[in-house]
């Protein structure tokens, strides 16, 4: 049940990201100062913001950047983690030691601090915050991949393959990688939701997308100043973030439960 709702939400999200015009034909950047700060009503279901832009339209159009950030950050994180995790798990003791120490160090940097440093070095913006989030999440994934790969590499069926006379390379390609990496796709699903939240946090600190981009975190950032008078400016983008993160998590968990044990 829950996962179908989640799939529904994600499908809607995807539609909004790919064809925002279908759900919201308006221009997310069109200002109309005379229509500023309208509470939700007919014609503006989510209300309008300080420049009279329609929040519903902006939330719909915000799906694309948020999703792209989420997916790209997760992809960066996972790719980096794959390299590190696989190297550590399969590269022998020295490599494992080195990579494990590196991960240890990265872990000692709280995620936000790592992201902050990256952003201060390379300047704020969507690209940097995406990379920052990707970097910040990589160590976590890397550890999971490492332990996953190690447990796969020591699984009895690997020995069975050795007994059948398979070469190292063939075992790696045929058994270890697929079994170690496939569960990573579950991680991706779970990670996207978190990455969206992280990126929003950076935007919220004013370090993410540049205005007036219709990006959820940036909308929250703008809206927080009008919290007392225009709650809808923060509520709806916030809801979109929470909903997509929840949907991704629910789906990820469902996949995880279904996946091979």
């Amino acid at each position: 049940m829950a996962q179908w709702v989640a799939i529904g939400v994600l499908a809607l999200l995807l539609l909004a990201a790919v064809l925002p015009g279908v759900l919201a034909p308006g221009d997310p950047l069109a200002i109309d100062p005379a229509q500023a700060f309208l509470s939700p009503r007919w014609g503006h279901p989510f209300g309008t913001d300080e420049s009279g832009r329609d929040i519903y339209t902006r939330v719909v159009h915000g799906a694309a950047p948020s999703l792209v950030i989420g997916v790209a950050a997760t992809a960066i994180g996972i790719l980096l983690a794959l390299v590190l995790g696989l190297a550590a798990a399969l590269g022998g003791r020295v490599v494992d030691f080195g990579v494990s120490r590196l991960l240890e160090v990265l872990f000692a940097f709280p995620g936000l601090l790592l992201a902050l440093l990256v952003i201060t070095v390379y300047g704020p913006g969507i690209v940097t915050s995406t990379i920052a989030v990707g970097l910040a999440t990589a160590p976590g994934y890397a550890r999971i991949i490492r332990s996953q790969t190690r447990s796969v590499a020591s699984a009895p069926y690997i020995e069975a393959a050795v007994v059948l006379g398979r070469s190292r390379g063939r075992i790696l390609v045929q058994h270890i990688l697929p079994n170690a990496v496939v569960p990573v796709f579950v991680l991706v699903t779970l990670g996207v939701g978190q990455a969206i939240v992280w990126a929003a946090a950076l935007s919220y600190l004013g370090l993410g997308a540049e205005p007036p981009a219709a990006e959820w975190g940036a909308m929250l950032f703008a809206g927080k100043n009008y919290l007392a008078t225009a709650w809808w400016m923060t509520f709806f983008p916030g809801l979109a973030i929470v909903l997509s993160a929840v949907a991704a998590t629910v789906l990820g968990r469902a996949l995880q439960r279904r996946g091979p044990r």
Binding site: S51, G123, P124, P211, P212, N225, T229
Partner: protein, 522 residues
Amino acid sequence: AGASPATTESTPVAGGTLTYATGFGEPTCLDPHVGGNMPQALLGTNVLESLFSQDADGAIVPWLATAGTPSADGLSWDITLRDDVTFTDGTPFDAEAVKANVEHMKDPATASSTAILALGKVADVEVVDPTTARFVLSEPDSALLESLAQTWLAMESPAGLTRSQEENCEAPIGTGPFTVESWTKQDNVTLVRNESYNSSPTGAAHEGTAYLDKIVWRFIPDPATRFAALQAGQVDVIDEMQPDNVVTATSSEDLAVLQGALPGASIRLELNSGYAPFDDERVRKAFIASADVNPGIESLFFGTVERSYSVLSTSTPYGASYEDDFAIDVDKANTLLDEAGWTTRDADGYRTKDGQRLTVDFPISTNQSIPAEQSLFEQIQATTKEVGFDVQLHPLDLSSWYASLAAWDFGVTSAIYTKNSADVLRILYDSANIQPAPSGYHPNHSHVDIPELDELLTKAGQTTDADERAAAYADAQKILSDGAYVLPLYDHLQKIGYRTSVQGLSLLPTLQLPYLADAWVQ
């Protein structure tokens, strides 16, 4: 009138604690000689006192000094001092003290930036007698007394100044109504009443010691939180109010708002005329003719500010408005751009020339521009897009913002400059200030380089003849307006919200800073 004291119906009562929450940030040093920024001035105003003050019209009035008289050639000023004032550490206030303060400000080790600039023409201070200090100038300075009225040039105990800078930063010693009791970093500074206070500025509601026992000066950077704290009664006074909160507060029984326009430059956009594309006057004019800000100012500020057409704040004398130069005219803008050679448009509707897009980089200091202002910039971005400008907004932290200004890496920006005289024009638009200070900062962001303007500003700064000065400033502002270097937006307002339980709150006119010696809590 900037200094409208809050309603004073009931009789003042002594005692009590007032909690003030500032959004300006936490000073790194409480001694305003060091560096010299708004947070220091804000807090310093209640601890330290200046030689002069100003009245609501900007006229100089006595404070620790009783009078200031220039020599005929304008190259020296005799400042006479009160003889009955002592610093809170018991050191008497006299001409020696004034000399020590000026030396402290000018000492490179102090690393002053604001005070040292204001004292740029002061060569030396001579002690004529204990109550007379003579300021010897290198060239005439008509704004000397205004400069001395600023909190950044406030008087501190010479004994205190001989302490290490660290100690002096912790708790500067002045003559003011309160003294610094303690400073918990990132949380609050606690001020307690100076029981022997006797030097209220002219225009104060009462003489003698302050009513409040204690002030807790808190730092709450987030405006929404700050206002929530005010609403919840956790704090009594807040500054840097958001426009929508001003509206909420005004309509609330428990809350009230005190406003005043900060002196100096108005909030304005400065067009970087030194580099493309704004090195072309036609492009600047097209930008100004298409940047429609009035509807935004109305809606974003909820009627709390008025559109300004002057580079100078309304609380600063000699401001001149040239409203016609800023009329919106899209056709004119298009024509101008066509003339300037920006004839083609790309797929996104932006104008191009030689394959280059008409891009205008707009670094925004998130520390200096309040959110409503940033929204207004977004609206400028949207309206100028119609004629083909691609304005790119870059919200930056203070360091990055300064860095991009220093590199001239911007088309337009908005900077605050608070100074209590029209001399601010010289600082902002004299060609000398295109050259950066050693730190890389150049106040002349518009890159205005007009010898005629430099001359006018120098003249205005030196003459003691008021009419001559007014004329010079008017001409100077006309030049700026004609050349479309600046787009004035509105006055930089000091917006103080307070609970109605607080009485007697006022703004000291010099820099429109809250003055708490007259305040009491019910």
